[in-house]
């Protein structure tokens, strides 16, 4: 293991302290002179980029010297992080330099791979697609840059008339999307991170920002340590690092969040403490009454709403959620107090949930009912886990039912609109919704399934899909399936790949991300990718061009022009499908300025590319001012900040599903999780992330400092359960469900402290795949699976 040059100074300090301490303690005397590196900092060129990891969207300053990233600093000028970074952020530069970077296109030959040329690789991919274009699918990512998602989207929906494109955000943010749509008629949070600076109370709903969004969390902690009163209430199924600093830790049973939200609503209504003014002017009530449930639901009266809530008394909620009735009253009291500003935070706990859409709408509903909305500090805020889950998956609409800018595949007008903007012949876009993620992999891994060729970009489904034994592993048994994987390192997914395309990553290419708070962030390429690694965007465009050469009619617009045709300043076509010419122009700029035409219908207005070059991101809608400047919007639907709110009223939900400018307050009945512990499988299994590793660890596990800090996965077990099972810390046990098993070391005094009967396993470790154990049950609307609860057992391995 090599020591970073920076540790040199630390060593010197240790030596200096040792010497000084020796002199003080009178035990020795030492006088030494030591050299330090003199010129280590000269000649570094700095530039901005959003961090590659989570959805917070911190900006870093990237220091480059001699074509290599040599330093990372928190960006002092970024609103999001104001110079601060979390432990992963400081190491982000090293993700480029793992020893096993993929640098050549690889084609499967038997059990191994052979290196092939890019020309061959692009040709093979294109010919596979040509064989049956309707059985081709793209599985993408909330880590796609906006232009990458946009070209994949256009290739599929606008070129191949094929809607089988879905991102990993389906596993991550889909329930947040359906929650926003059902409530406001338009996706993404109304508030922003500024709420954290203004609120009096933060409620974390099944959310652990101390580990998962540390920089955001520090905004709250810093206010506390500077003497401000900010109350932190953590509602969670297990004790976490967030719980440890919370003023109130409310331990709930899995699915208890649904009951808690209903319980708060019940008390607000029963005690007549809801915000009459806000509700009567800006809200309607909604439920699923009969027939096929939809995201619009049916209108119900306030009386019906009240009667449906009647049963959710504090005592009944205590029974369902395990949270004491008095604490439900405490929460209701806070929401009832007009002088208290409350911000709710949530992420995977509420999204990876078989009632994901329901609980998302219920938490929005609690805020609407109490009027804790639309004023800085009062906000229901859903956080994202990926750097561009919002920007690429949700805004570009790279899901199987969406078109860019919030348009729907199934909507005739929206398709026509997209065809017009893309200059496509009428009817080019297929009106049938494509396969969502779980369906896509089911079709890919079953005999005679509807997907024969799949292209995976910027994600690792071989590790992240639930129930891998059903949804991924069977691929190896099916000879007629062809898996193309664009990757930077070997992963669980490339193991089953037939064609591996080496990709450029992060600051090896131009890019644009969109973070949790609607902030669009641009960066430039700063270093060259290693070997023959190339941009994902280029790969998609090159395959599209090859498809055109092979005669696919969809690769031309209605005037017979290549769908990714680009010109230089002089109007000459640039052959961007040839790598040598890809950077002759700024392809990202062309694609983004093309894409931004889609952004206005849903009032998600984006500024021109060049405006983002000047800033550390801007939050949409970004609206041009009379003086020509561009102004971002921090608080949507609030007249004081959102230019789209009709004049003369304080709020307007201008995409209301009821068409009357109002948001919807929903009521759903509590339902038990689909699989619950029983005699055979007595534990609740919860899965998730840890601070040091990001998602499947493909990047962070290649950074020595992070791997030392968190070397492997583990199963977190309550000490009493460990005693009962007769297992010790560090002992490897088998965690198994009806679907599969994995072996993990026990940790009883770790990050989290689960209650008895509950276990937690992080999913970052590809040598211990917990997704062999998880369940593929999903939310009926969002199709997002629940990784947070299923029934499992823990078995001692040694006799």
């Amino acid at each position: 293991m090599t020591m970073p040059a920076t540790d040199r100074r630390q060593f010197l300090k240790s030596a200096a302290m040792a010497a000084a301490a020796g002199a003080v303690l009178g035990e020795t005397e030492t006088s030494i002179a030591l050299p330090v590196l003199g010129s280590e900092d000269s000649g570094i060129k700095w530039d901005k980029a959003p961090c590659r990891f989570c959805g917070t969207g911190c900006h870093v300053q990237v220091g480059v010297e001699d074509g290599r990233v040599v330093a990372i600093a928190g960006d002092q000028h970024a609103d999001v992080n104001k110079g601060l970074l979390c432990v992963k952020g400081y190491h982000v530069g090293m993700i480029l330099y793992g020893e096993d970077r993929l640098t050549k296109p690889l084609l499967r030959r038997g059990d191994g791979f052979v290196e092939i040329s890019w020309d061959e690789a692009i040709d093979i991919a294109a010919r596979r697609i040509m064989q049956s274009p309707d059985k081709f699918a793209i599985y993408g990512s909330g880590q796609w840059t906006i232009p990458e998602g946009y070209v994949a989207q256009k290739l599929m929906k606008g070129g191949l008339s094929n809607n089988h494109i879905d991102p990993n955000a389906r596993l991550c943010m889909a329930s947040a999307v359906t929650g926003f749509l059902a409530t406001y008629g338009v996706d993404e949070p109304a508030g922003c991170y500024d709420d954290l600076d203004a609120c009096d109370v933060v409620i974390t709903w099944g959310n652990n920002p101390a580990e998962m969004h540390p920089v955001l969390f520090s905004r709250v902690m810093d206010r506390q340590s500077s003497g401000e009163k900010v109350m932190l209430i953590d509602i969670s199924t297990r004790r976490t690092r967030t719980s440890e600093v919370a003023d109130e830790y409310l331990e709930m049973l899995p699915h208890g969040d649904v009951a808690i939200a209903l319980g708060i609503m019940h008390l607000l209504v029963e005690r007549d403490q809801y915000d009459h003014e806000f509700v009567s002017r800006f809200c309607n009530f909604r439920a699923h009454e009969s027939g096929k449930p939809t995201l619009k639901g049916e209108a119900i009266s306030f009386e019906e709403y009240k009667s449906r809530l009647a049963m959710y008394t504090p005592d009944y909620v205590e029974q369902l959620s395990g949270v004491p009735a008095e604490k439900i009253r405490m929460l209701a009291d806070l929401f009832a107090d007009p002088d208290v500003k409350i911000t709710s935070l949530w992420c995977m706990g509420m999204n990876q949930h078989t009632m994901g859409t329901a609980i998302n709408t219920l938490v929005h509903g609690v805020h609407l009912l109490s009027g804790k909305f639309g004023v800085p500090g009062n906000s229901p805020t859903s956080l994202t886990g990926q750097p561009s889950a919002c920007g690429t998956a949700r805004e570009v609409g790279t899901l199987s039912h969406l078109l860019p800018g919030g348009r729907l595949v199934a909507n005739d007008k929206h398709r026509a609109d997209a065809e017009r903007l893309w200059n496509l012949p009428e009817g080019r876009i297929n009106p049938k919704i494509g396969f969502h993620t779980l369906k896509m992999f089911e079709e890919f891994t079953k005999e005679g399934g509807g997907v024969s060729t799949m292209w995976v970009q910027v994600t690792n489904p071989g590790q992240t899909l639930p129930n891998l034994n059903k949804l991924f592993e069977p691929k190896s048994e099916l000879d007629d399936r062809f898996l193309i994987v664009s990757e930077v390192y070997p992963t669980a997914t490339t193991q089953l790949a037939d064609l591996v395309l080496p990709a450029a990553m992060w600051v090896e290419k131009n890019g644009i991300f969109g973070n949790s708070e609607r902030r669009t962030q641009q960066w430039f390429r700063m270093v060259e990718p290693p070997g023959d690694a190339r941009d994902d965007c280029w790969m998609t465009i090159a395959v599209a061009h090859r498809l055109m050469e092979l005669g696919h009619p969809g690769m031309k617009d209605k005037d017979g022009v290549f769908i990714f045709h680009m010109e230089d300043e002089n109007g000459n076509e640039v052959p961007i499908w040839e790598w040598e010419h890809y950077y002759d122009i700024n392809v990202d700029r062309h694609l983004f300025d093309d894409y931004r035409r889609f952004s206005r219908m849903k009032h998600k207005d984006l500024a021109p590319y060049d405006e983002y070059v000047k800033t550390r991101g801007m939050r949409w809608p970004v609206v041009q001012q009379p003086d020509g400047s561009w102004r971002e919007t921090r608080f949507r639907f609030s007249a004081f900040d959102d230019p789209y709110v009709k004049e003369g009223q304080p709020f307007e939900f201008y995409h209301s599903t009821s068409g009357d400018g109002r948001a919807q307050i929903w009521v759903h009945d509590y339902k038990s999780p689909p699989e619950m512990p029983d005699e055979d499988y007595p534990f609740w299994l919860n899965t998730g992330r840890v601070l040091e590793h990001w998602h499947t660890g493909t990047m962070t596990r290649r950074i020595p400092q992070l791997t030392r800090a968190m070397p492997s996965a583990y199963v977190e077990l309550n000490p009493e359960d460990a005693r009962e099972l007769n297992v010790r810390d560090g002992e490897v046990v088998r965690v198994e469900s009806r679907r599969g098993s994995t072996d993990l070391p026990v940790w009883t005094r770790g990050r989290g402290y689960p209650p008895r009967g509950q276990i937690f396993v992080p999913f970052f470790d590809e040598t211990m795949l917990v997704n062999h154990v998880t369940l593929d049950e999903h939310d009926p609307f969002s199709k997002q699976p629940d990784f947070k609860k299923c029934a499992a057992r823990v078995r001692k391995i040694s006799a």
Partner: protein, 226 residues
């Protein structure tokens, strides 16, 4: 220790073996407008760079140095006895299941070849049964001497937990229960309990390692036979 042995700073700066740096850090050392209080993570450029940084190939200077504090394996007796009685037999080096015990390199001159621990390379994991001590025939690693290789100290300036971020790695991975406690999310070393094994320094993921690790300056002799 008497004052006449102290070396004045002025004298030090005038010394011919020391020259002030030719140039101060360049403007490029940090991004424009960067708050100097915030850390910057700097990466090794190459393996060569690391070698250069650790000065591993350079000659040492002996003038003015009287004693070198090093990390000895657990149970090491006082340094003069240790140097006098250690036979350089290698048994402790072989006994260590984690390869934490290595030979002092030649640039450490008179102690060359004696067993030391380099926590940045591989810290002592404090095995329950201390096989290195069992393996030591001359008994310079002795069960009569408490395990006290050194002490760790947390640098609050660079520790992430002390600087608005979350991190609890040192306390989680510390093999000695109660040696690093977390108070309001921030770690603190309990000096009486800390053995100086160096695990915390090894695992610290802060951009500038937040653990100062100091070897024990004077270890006890074996004392009365037990």
């Amino acid at each position: 220790m008497s004052d006449e042995n102290d070396i004045s700073r002025r004298g030090f700066l005038r010394g011919d073996f020391l020259k002030p740096p030719e140039k101060s850090t360049s403007e490029d050392a940090m991004p424009p407008g960067h708050d100097p209080a915030r850390p910057i993570m700097r990466y090794a450029r190459s393996i060569d760079d690391v070698d250069r940084a650790t000065g591993s190939t350079q000659q040492q200077r002996t003038k003015g140095r009287r004693h070198i504090p090093v990390f000895r394996p657990p149970g090491a007796v006082d340094e003069p006895t240790f140097l006098a009685e250690c036979t350089r037999c290698d048994e402790c080096v072989r006994a260590c299941p984690h390869d934490a015990i290595i030979h002092a390199p030649s640039r450490l001159r008179e102690i060359e070849g004696t067993p030391i621990i380099d926590p940045d390379r591989q810290p002592c994991l404090l095995c329950d049964d201390l096989p290195c001590v069992s393996a030591c025939e001359p008994d310079v690693l002795s069960r009569a001497v408490p395990v006290m290789m050194g002490t760790a100290q947390i640098r609050s300036q660079t520790c992430l937990a002390w600087n608005s971020s979350t991190c609890t790695v040192c306390s989680e991975q510390c093999p000695v229960e109660g040696a690093i406690v977390i108070e309001e999310g921030k770690p603190r070393v309990v000096e009486e309990t800390c053995t100086g094994c160096g695990v915390c320094r090894y695992v610290c993921p802060a951009p500038e390692n937040a653990i100062l690790l100091m070897p024990t300056f004077s270890r006890p002799s074996k004392g009365p036979a037990s």
